[in-house]
Symmetry: D2
Subunit: 381 residues, 4 copies
């Protein structure tokens, strides 16, 4: 590669939270530049975004159909597109770009149905496209450390997984719902069948699966809709059983006063326990049987080699959300460069969450809603 | 009252953990003295216990049948008996003493079946006996503070309760089970139908009920038996629904490496959240809507008057397990003195956990086992 | 010993905080009983105390001169006296009892001057009396663990000791000082030349010395008196040098808003670091060079044998202030019994803080005040 | 401004930790681009850096003298230069660029002597140049919140400041010192008279001054050099007095096993206390008199408006080191744009640390060394 990679973006215009984070992560790696986009469905915002982000006018598109088509036809077309729209546009947008042979990075949840997900996977394979789903929290260095510790047998066989993800930052907006100010996350048209279970639940499902390699066998889910006006869930309680005999509990909530963004996962094995807390992502608590619990610190020499690949600054100098995204992009760009260099790619080997994980997330959301609607009964995956 | 109260003890001889704690708690209050007991079913231990504890020989009994009968006949009979045996003896022992008109303080779980519990309650009422079940963790000052904050509406209407109680101190003994060294907690003959769910689960069930006043409507429980040899549960995962619409999750485990005795309850209301962690029992985390979380400290002036009644030492000077027990005994002795003084007693008003709470605990254990045995289905309470 | 030990108490009547804690600690051990006392200089309180504590009328004394004399003359005289008065009475009271051959347990600071301390030591030796100074926080199990880890070389040679002890519970009373409500701790007549440095500073000085065995070489101290009206220090900042080359900083304050009773000591060695926080006394943070920090938990098997001797309840079941006192009494009573049994006693071997440590504390207070009065200059010990 | 700002960099080539962080911070803001540099004194590294960073060959300079001269002569000259070299080059490099009228951003410590600092200030004023010193930890959102809370009187008048900054990541390299592998930080030729006091101590001095506005009146400092071979300090203990009566203690160490990068500052006022811990930079502990301590979380609505200006992602989504740098650059670029737009600039108003703070830091280092060399005596600032 003698050049920087080129990327485009769908959604994520001025004022959007997550689009800015994706751009910051990309710029942190300094491997790629944003050269095209369709940042909004609002004219004014499109123009503003293009100007702010330094996008050439002819690559600042008004629809993503137009963008996919025109970019697909360029010689210097984008190497990948970032899809950071509300959930409902993930599937149609991803499809258009894949059909143009453009690699895709897509926010979670991947789409609304497993069928959609399978179709995207098929199209991606047919067009030899890479596909990354940005489950952010797998990007943290200590998530990678946790994954390695499980892989190398440090904690033995897994018995239970207890995970939670409470938030309260959407509390007011979720409770004062009207036509005008309802957040898209609480609107089934934009969000799909699940709200909290899709927005937060999929993070738990994926993080656990990413780190442990365990496959869900069945689940029993209760969804609550607290407060006035909403129709979608804002509190999610799930019992899970994994193939192989491990069990677990997942809880996530958007109405948990006092909690900011508190993803926490504990993995209990026959020989030890791993505890990851997203808000303290620079640390990992590791407890070995009959030993005092230890606090691993990102950046220290005793980490696994795999985790150390992602360390950017010395221990005690905090990394955060943007670095987590940047690590996923680092993985993805590595795969992309290998592909451009003509190598055969197995996406599993690069560390970023794949389309299969995206499909698993969509299955999880739907099975949770199915279970809850049927009275919180057990459902096979 | 011109005298110290007199108590007796069933079980809790040399080497027993919980008997010593009960005695320490009683001596801390300095309101009562231990004057009789049947501390073991082993001759040597009985003699040793009597000597160590300064029990008169004629009140150091060889069977609890003998003790109940002889104490019942004395003029200076014990004011109450403490039952701190393995679970299987709670019911028969309590019955014998109640029939002699002797008040009872009994360890949890109260007994094996709800019918047994109801019978004990009937006998207690017929004999005008007080009955306290020592759910330890309701005795902490900050448990009382939490209860008052819920009662006075500080956190609004309760939406969710997320509670857990992981341990690992029995891990080795639970996994190396043989005829000889199997802990009684894991033996159905001594423990009943549930092990972890009875030993730890009942603490969660009671603490939540005690602090919130919520009544369970139904539950869905998965019990696991990890490791070799045991037949009873050592890991418990429960979805619960409360009357009135609140929901919750309870998790407790005896095979959770890295956790000592980590009872933690979070109560989420419409206006705020309360978080209690037993191992940090001198503090309570209180988060009010749209305000920074606060750390309440036991002993400070801003606590409720009710909680302040139980403060023994200034803030920052840690109280612990023994003080929690002592607070329950303080409540119980207050009721006892009022009763001796001829007052009409409503046990609910004194603060200690009542026999009704004991019965609720037994119901909880049985419903959990029923649910799990039926495939972790929902069961009405 | 075929009997319980007998103790008496000077000070500590109704309403006094620390007297009650001493009594609770003694009763927790169940090795001794309180049989005599002079609990106050106020008639009414004396009578009330005697009644509450079940002291025989003829042993409920009106002055400690009378008590020393009469107890000294009894055949069943007290085995030791507890001195828990304001500081100014420690020296005269201790002297009287030692002269009667009665062993002494005395609150810190031992007395006002090193000369007084040396005199007490001489009298104690002449009368073959044991002498314990109740530096509370040396009694915690994890203080004992820390001491053993230093002794067995786990953290190598000590380089620095950073210690602090901020409080705020006396803040209001220290700032609203008048003739009537001034706390005795802030009155030089009762407290001596130092207030905060005597009340809290001596705890730091002793804890460090007890755990590390290091001897102070010199110090440089700044004392502040913040707020209106007081003449004694309420904030203390000290640089210290130890014999052998280690250095350190001590800070203690009674006007540190937001801190309850936050004694915290960190000991840095060439191979590792130990951190003890009194409010979390059931844990010890141990960091070995190039290893992740570990959280030791009181009660676990990996502790040193010495520390495990003092464990009362399993890990995760919190012990607190009273247990710390009780451990010191346990040590003292062990020595006492050995002495009664006719053994030659070396008090250093029993674990309780000795009169030498009491004298070191008095020296520390005086050197701090000397240094501060001279402009915070360095002073040799 | 119709264009991005242009910056150059001195030092910070491949492998240098802090240069990469500066570049990441600049790219995060997306307001400026790196167009020139003199990244090393090693030919190979210069070429590598230029290629990696996409610097035009004619702006990838071999000496900073050349760079200052040639950039000064360009029409499209850099708007500012970043100086991220070892300490010894700060002064000569800054001087050269200021003389060319180029604004400067310089790492701390600013230079070796106060005279040098004053000279730089004079030259900056003569040439109408802005000058920012990158005291990183003032850039955290919660540092800004702390500053506002002090300014608006929330915690009353300041009484004490207790600050510390222990590290251990350089421990091994500091202890195995030879000609070849001695870190420049421990070499007086590169680092100046102080090592730990310059590298870490200046952060404490500045953070306290930045947040509180307090001016140091005098200090008493002990410097230690633990381990073999080094000549400069690696452990620093300071008593400080502020103008106006407040006092404090600063401790910083590079040999504190178990601590990564643990800057912690506590500011005690008459009405409340603020506690900032750099490794938990997304939170601020605020304790008001007689109220339970509160945990402020970056991103929440209750923060001051000033702090909220710097929030990049919602609460609970961690920001870290790079964002802190980026906030300082954001301030600096705002001033730069105002200057380019022809406004009169008062650098104090923009929030970034000014050259006066840089000079204060140099004074602090020299006074600490002076004090320690004279036997840790008190020295006036």
């Amino acid at each position: 590669m003698g050049r920087k990679l080129r990327c485009g973006m769908i959604g994520g215009g001025p004022g959007a939270f997550i689009g800015g984070v994706h751009r910051a992560a990309i710029s942190l790696n300094n491997e790629a530049e944003l050269v095209a986009g369709c940042f909004s469905n609002n004219e004014e915002k499109i123009i503003q975004a293009g100007a702010e982000l330094g996008i050439d006018k002819d690559r600042n598109y008004w629809t993503f159909e137009e963008m996919a088509k025109k970019e697909g036809a360029r010689k210097d077309k984008i190497d990948w597109v970032d899809i950071v729209t509300p959930n409902c546009f993930h599937y149609p947008a991803a499809k258009l770009f894949l059909e143009q042979g453009i690699n895709v990075v897509c926010e979670k949840p991947l789409c609304f149905t497993v069928d959609e997900g399978q179709e995207l996977k098929r199209i991606a394979m047919e067009n030899n496209c890479l596909f990354c789903v940005t489950y952010t929290y797998t990007g943290h260095v200590m998530a990678r450390e946790a994954r390695e510790l499980v892989k190398n047998g440090s904690i033995g066989d897994i018995r239970m997984v207890i995970a939670e993800y409470p938030q309260d930052w959407l509390l007011d907006s979720l409770e004062i719902i009207s036509e005008n100010n309802q957040p898209w996350r609480a609107n089934p048209k934009f969000s799909g069948r699940g709200a909290c279970v899709a927005d937060l639940g999929t993070h738990i499902e994926n993080w656990v699966s990413y780190v442990t390699g365990l496959k869900l066998d069945s689940l029993c889910c209760n969804l609550d809709t607290f407060g006035s006006g909403g129709v979608l869930d804002n509190n999610v309680e799930v019992l899970v059983k994994f193939k192989g005999g491990a069990t677990g509990m997942y809880w996530t909530s958007q109405v948990a006063i006092g909690f900011d963004n508190a993803l926490k996962v504990r993995i209990f094995g026959t020989d030890g326990t791993i505890e990851f807390v997203q808000e303290e992502n620079n640390y990992l608590k590791v407890s070995m049987r009959n030993q005092p619990p230890q606090i691993y610190s990102r950046g220290c020499d005793y980490l696994t080699d795999k985790a150390k690949e992602y360390v950017r600054v010395p221990s005690g100098h905090p990394e955060g959300l943007i670095e987590a995204f940047a690590n996923i992009y680092k993985d993805f760009c590595r795969a992309l460069i290998d592909k451009i260099d003509g190598q055969q790619i197995n996406e599993e080997n690069y560390g970023y969450p794949t389309i299969d994980m995206g499909i698993d997330g969509v299955a999880f959301v739907n099975k949770c809603v199915d279970s809850s609607e049927a009275g919180a009964i057990w459902i096979k995956m």
